[in-house]
Assembly symmetry: C2
Homo-oligomer: 255 residues x 2
DNA sequence: TGTTAAATTTCGGGA
DNA sequence: TCCCGAAGTTTAACA
């Protein structure tokens, strides 16, 4: 599990350690200690000297954590080059990528701990409650949106994006359905509006296209915007915002 | 720096370790080893048995990393309760929060390493290249958007959101400016459209309100959408997508 | 608390 | 590669 551990490594020792274990790409590498971090790319940042935790995963992704918060202080999702070297008597780590051109530089002023861990086995990961799952369910039970609704297509691509559900109502009118797994916002209304326009543009002039936003709830401003644009909202209440373990009850949507 | 380190801890030892160091809230705690993770909240997930790295920061935030990717496999940004206990002869960690109600459960089947680190000093952090900075710059140099433009306000709140820059052109017409630090998308066009409508609704009927999207570039579909809605695009090219160190040259925007 | 929008968003999918 | 959209997005700001 622990491939290698160094306490208070010298600059050249840390440099070798980093280059060795990042090259093999089979370890999760971490270094904790006093460091300085700078980033240049889509934006630019500088972190003054402080105690940070640097993580380098097997795919070469880099993240630098400060004492609080879920998000790293600095990061590099993918690195095209990851190299450590001794510079002015300290170990310096450079993580760069092209597209976008970005570079993160870590200067280890006083590394206290360097650790290489083997994190081999990762089991399966299963997520439920995604919008994709909601789409799957509603595509097979469109009456939950509206009685008589017939689904013609899913993920239909138009110039302005992908339409979640494309359908026809009991009067033969085309219906564009936009799904949200959580509370629908003005953003969702804009999306729906764009899709409705795109579909209208493909049909003979004068065709009526309905737009339905289907979600467990909707914000006040979104509702106003929606109604002013002649679009509709359908509450999908059986979508459990917090799936609760239940016994002897009938399973809700998505279970 | 290293407050405590355990190798292959027994369930009760790991439990004590976790409860002790998370209670004091002055350490970054990590556990690496075989585990199972499940989550219930806005969605639900299960991670089968595998080797993971669990990080618990001083603010009680929890993240569980698998071998690749910048994002944790599971996480809990804020925990209202963080408690470990021995359950069926293994150590189980529960991290829960209200609002939204969510819980992450980690079952440590075979912990190999438990580490408590002191990450005390964090230096200052400075980021440049944000949209806020772009706004600051353009508010003082609106001629970069258009000659004769006068800024009337920033972050002006209307019902549909916050207008980045509110201005008047050399002919006295009101101008709503939406800024993007990167390539502008259809989403940005929608925002701008909403703001223009909101402003029009506040002015006497028939008032002309211009909408300008100011960004370094714009996607093709966004440009079409923009033009079809009578809105305008202004390229802000001096926004350096990659701020480069230069010598003897005149500093660009934002430097 | 509710809503909106930014973010070095990341990530995945389709053309 | 470009583009769009989901995400357990997170985070901050503001009414």
């Amino acid at each position: 599990m622990i491939r290698e551990q160094l306490i208070d490594p010298a600059p050249d020792a840390l440099t070798s350690f980093l280059n060795c274990h990042t090259r093999t790409r089979d370890c999760l590498v971490q270094v904790a200690g006093l460091a300085e971090v700078s980033y240049r790319g889509r934006a630019a940042s500088t972190a003054e000297i402080g105690t940070y935790l640097v993580l380098i995963k097997q795919d070469g992704s880099l993240q630098i954590h400060h004492p609080t918060g879920i998000k790293p202080m600095n990061w590099q999702p993918k690195t095209d080059e990851l190299v450590a070297r001794v510079d002015e008597d300290v170990c310096m780590l450079l993580a760069s990528r092209r597209s976008p051109v970005e570079i993160v530089q870590v200067i280890f002023l006083q590394p206290h701990l360097a650790l290489a861990l083997e994190l081999k086995a990762a089991g399966g990961f299963f997520l439920s409650g995604s919008e994709a799952q909601m789409q799957e369910t509603l595509a097979h039970a469109p009456e939950l949106i509206e009685p008589g609704l017939k689904v013609l297509g899913r993920e239909l691509l138009v110039e302005s994006g992908g339409i979640d559900l494309y359908a026809q109502d009991d009067q033969g009118r085309y219906v564009v359905v936009e799904l949200k797994r959580g509370r629908a916002t003005q953003h969702a209304v804009s999306q729906l509006g764009r899709y409705v326009c795109s579909v209208q543009g493909k049909l003979p002039a004068g065709s009526v296209v309905r737009g339905i936003l289907a979600a467990p709830s909707i914000t006040g401003p979104a509702r106003l915007e929606l109604e002013s644009r002649g679009l509709e909202f359908r509450e999908i209440s059986s979508w459990p915002s917090v799936p609760v373990a239940r016994e002897g009850q009938q399973p809700s949507l998505f279970e």
